[in-house]
């Protein structure tokens, strides 16, 4: 039997990492809720996950020589997502675009997603353990 841990865990580890990243970004937005000219930022989880997993919808360049350039993304770099700016629902005079209610909701949502992904990962680990243990 050929057991690959990477395959066994699937997208879960990358999903956890991206969600941790998003949690940090949303925490930064909330920390800067009163900073003048601060622009609230966020990124698309699914797009970043697709990039990390190499399933992005960008076309691959065909290479016939080792020195040819590729447009393949470095997995470690893909975890630095393209940050987008949130469109404010209401303009504010000091140029700050953080909507605390929205950010809190997004943070709570992201927390739930993080916990559920962690739960899946946990189950996967325990089922692997069960498979490996003698009994």
């Amino acid at each position: 039997m050929n057991l690959s841990l990477d395959k066994a865990f699937g997208v879960l580890p990358s999903a956890v990492l991206i969600k941790a990243r998003r949690a940090e970004l949303l925490a930064s937005n909330l920390a800067n809720v009163d900073t003048p000219n601060y622009k609230s930022r966020d990124f698309h989880f699914t797009e970043v996950l697709a990039e990390v997993e190499g399933m992005g919808n960008r076309m691959k360049l065909s290479t016939t020589h080792a020195n040819h350039l590729t447009n393949e993304i470095d997995k470690s770099k893909a975890l630095e997502p393209d940050l987008l700016y949130r469109i404010p629902a209401q303009p504010s005079l000091d140029g700050n675009t953080v909507d605390p209610q929205l950010e809190r909701a997004a943070f709570a949502e992201n927390t739930m997603h993080y916990q559920s992904t962690l739960e899946f990962l946990d189950r996967r680990v325990s089922s692997l353990r069960k498979a490996l243990s003698k009994e």
Binding site: L26, S28, A31, D34, L118, V125, R129
Partner: protein
């Protein structure tokens, strides 16, 4: 996982900034009724300036803590009132009081405490997420 650790830094910076803001509000409110003989000696309301900090170690990263860039004096001129019997009255009988709007200060205080609470919440959530993460594969 280091991202979740950085939340502590980011949120703690916000807590510090908001508590400095709360401090200046307290100072303004406490000194709202002070009097002086000259406009120069009169207490001036203080305001904090917030600024975002880009993490030097991780300039492309998403950690954006906040810091207090400075505390500045309010530009409003002190209000002179004619009270010749006041111990602080000058030769013309005028006493100067700071132009502090208590309602404005109260609103500022509420805003600061709401932001503080939001950041405390983020901190507690991040802590429980980390604890949960450390327990993966235990059971």
């Amino acid at each position: 996982m280091s991202d979740l650790f950085r939340i502590f830094n980011t949120s703690a910076s916000a807590l510090t900034a908001q508590s400095v803001r709360l401090n200046t509000v307290a100072s303004n409110m406490a000194n709202a009724a002070t009097t002086a003989s000259t406009p120069e000696d009169t207490y001036r309301a203080k305001h904090v300036l917030f600024q975002t900090v880009i993490d030097q170690e991780d300039p492309k990263g998403v950690a954006m803590p906040v810091r207090v860039a400075g505390i500045v004096d309010d530009k409003c001129e002190p209000i002179p009132t004619y009270e010749p019997n006041h111990p602080h009255a000058n030769e013309e009988g005028y006493v100067f009081r700071p132009a502090i709007n208590v309602v404005e200060e109260m609103a500022n205080m509420m805003s600061a405490s709401r932001s503080y609470e939001a950041n405390v919440e983020v901190l507690t959530t991040a802590r429980s997420l980390l604890q949960r993460t450390l327990q993966v594969g235990r059971s």
